[in-house]
């Protein structure tokens, strides 16, 4: 049997909540996800000023456990996994042998020999296959696809902790810590992490409990926010988006992620990363702002070489902003760029990262 019908989109346990809230739903990496409810701008401002809540249950999870877990993760992840304390969290990239970036990931240490790694939805299957393949060479390690075991909510903004604290049975874990709590009677892994540049938490729980948790946080002032606002928020603070600013065609040093690469741990790709770090990258990922009207977008070429990988209108700054790979000689803050925005040359300038600072 063959069929031309596209595969059905996957839905998160919060799908009904999104429909009821009037969300505009789009296909995102095979998932039917809310891109916005009321509008990107009000949702963006809710996260900056009060508290927004995102359904990010499309993100994947891989659980690595057993006495060999640390050895496997140290070999796969670019950061020094031995530095993750119990209940700790760490950001890293997953590299190929040539240093090309397969994904960027948060890893939480749930127990002495048990780690949970959160993947990007678009990369989950590839990451899982990569983990499983390399696990064969390590004794005493189990790699388990945990994508169906977890729903994930990101509660972000200056009031986010206060709202979640009010329904928690114990003080919330600090930034870059992840601990189990009971929230409104539900067992939740509460992580002091996020993707918006604001304070807040990310909540992982069993899918069947996610709707009640969502409702409780909405009732207490969490504003549902879609993937559109998630993108503008992360770009204002210059967090990377896989598929835009990260890909297998470029390495972590080019992307400005050398800080999370510890070549001495001998992770896959360490030799390639070390070589680029020592000789200096040919291109660098910079943040830019347009100096006049217009909005640069992914794929717009830059005079003298390079390309825009992310671009939008910044709701907080009111100007076109973005990130771009440019030749290393054009990467200094203050360098003037000319971006070809669909045939119009638009002046821009390389800016410090982040483009927006919390509370400014």
């Amino acid at each position: 049997m063959s069929s031309t019908t596209p595969p059905a989109l996957r839905r998160t346990p919060l799908y009904d909540r999104h429909v009821a809230a009037g969300a505009k739903l789009v296909d995102f990496a095979g998932w039917e996800m809310p891109v916005q409810y009321e509008g990107v701008r009000p949702e963006h401002m809710a996260v900056r000023k009060t508290c927004g809540m995102f359904d990010v249950s499309h993100m994947g999870e891989i659980e690595t456990s057993g006495p060999g877990a640390l050895e496997l993760l140290q070999c796969l992840l670019s950061n020094d996994v031995a530095k993750i304390a119990p209940d700790g969290a760490q950001y890293s990239v997953l590299c190929r042998e040539d240093g090309g970036v397969l994904d960027d990931l948060f890893t939480y240490r749930l127990d002495a020999e048990r780690y949970l790694t959160v993947t990007n939805a678009s990369n989950h299957e590839r990451d899982l296959a990569w983990f499983e393949r390399h696990a064969q060479a390590v004794d005493g390690v189990q790699v388990q696809d945990a994508i169906d075991a977890w729903a994930m909510l990101a509660v972000q903004g200056p009031l986010a902790r206060e709202i979640v604290q009010a329904i928690s049975d114990a003080p919330l874990p600090a930034r870059m810590r992840a601990e189990m709590r009971r929230l409104a009677g539900v067992e939740v892994l509460v992580c002091g992490t996020g993707y918006t540049g604001e304070d807040g938490v990310e909540l992982l729980c069993a899918p069947e409990y996610a709707p009640a948790l969502w409702d409780e946080i909405v009732r207490r002032g969490g504003v549902p926010a879609g993937l559109g606002a998630r993108d503008t928020l992360r770009l204002e603070v210059c967090f990377h988006l896989y598929g835009n600013d990260l890909s297998v065609d470029r390495g972590p040093i080019e992307a400005g992620l050398g800080w999370c690469c510890k070549e001495d741990t001998d992770f896959i790709g360490a030799d390639a990363v070390r070589a680029v770090r020592e000789r200096g990258p040919a291109e660098k990922l910079v943040a830019f702002a347009l100096e006049g009207p217009g909005i640069a977008r992914q794929g717009n070429p830059i005079s003298g070489g390079g390309e825009v990988t992310s671009g939008t209108l910044s709701p907080c700054l009111g100007i076109g902003i973005g990130m771009a790979y440019v030749p290393a000689g054009h990467a200094a803050v203050g360098t003037q760029l000319e971006i070809d925005v669909r045939g119009k040359m638009r002046p821009a300038v390389v800016k410090d990262k982040p483009l927006y600072r919390k509370g400014s």
Binding site: K24, R41, T232, I295, T312, L313
Partner: protein, 132 residues
């Protein structure tokens, strides 16, 4: 955001553009995008108007409107030459969302072929395409 509406007095193009030709002035048309187009786009944050004097060719793109997330071509429902652009949109492009048939108009053109209007749809025909 405005309520769904499709005025009776407009001519509609399948690319979700409208043209208004006044009864007492068959030489000119005011152009804009429909409620459906602005709703699909989301909040408009940038409109880059073409210059007065620019020639429009029916069914070809003559301008771009942008939301935070996306850029969208605006297609000319009729051919002609731009005699006026809505300068107010430079400071307040969200008027395209709030009042797509009024304050959110885009350009006024002098028509170069008055017979082209016969190819456009009336409101009933256009709204039927949206239902499909």
């Amino acid at each position: 955001m405005s309520q769904t509406s499709y005025p009776l007095d407009l001519l509609y193009h399948p690319e979700h553009d409208w043209a208004r030709i006044a009864e007492d002035d068959a030489e000119h048309a005011v152009l804009g995008i429909t409620w459906y187009a602005q709703d699909a786009l989301g909040e408009v944050v940038f409109f880059d108007p073409p210059a007065v004097g620019t020639t429009l060719v029916k069914d070809s793109s003559y301008a771009e409107v942008e939301s935070v997330k996306a850029v969208s071509d605006v297609v000319a429902p009729l051919s002609g030459e731009i005699v006026e652009v809505n300068e107010a949109l430079a400071d307040n492009p969200a008027m395209i969302n709030e009042d797509p048939y009024g304050e959110g108009w885009l350009v006024k053109i002098r028509l170069s072929d008055s017979s082209e209007r016969d190819a456009l749809m009336d409101v009933a025909t256009y709204t039927a395409t949206l239902a499909g």
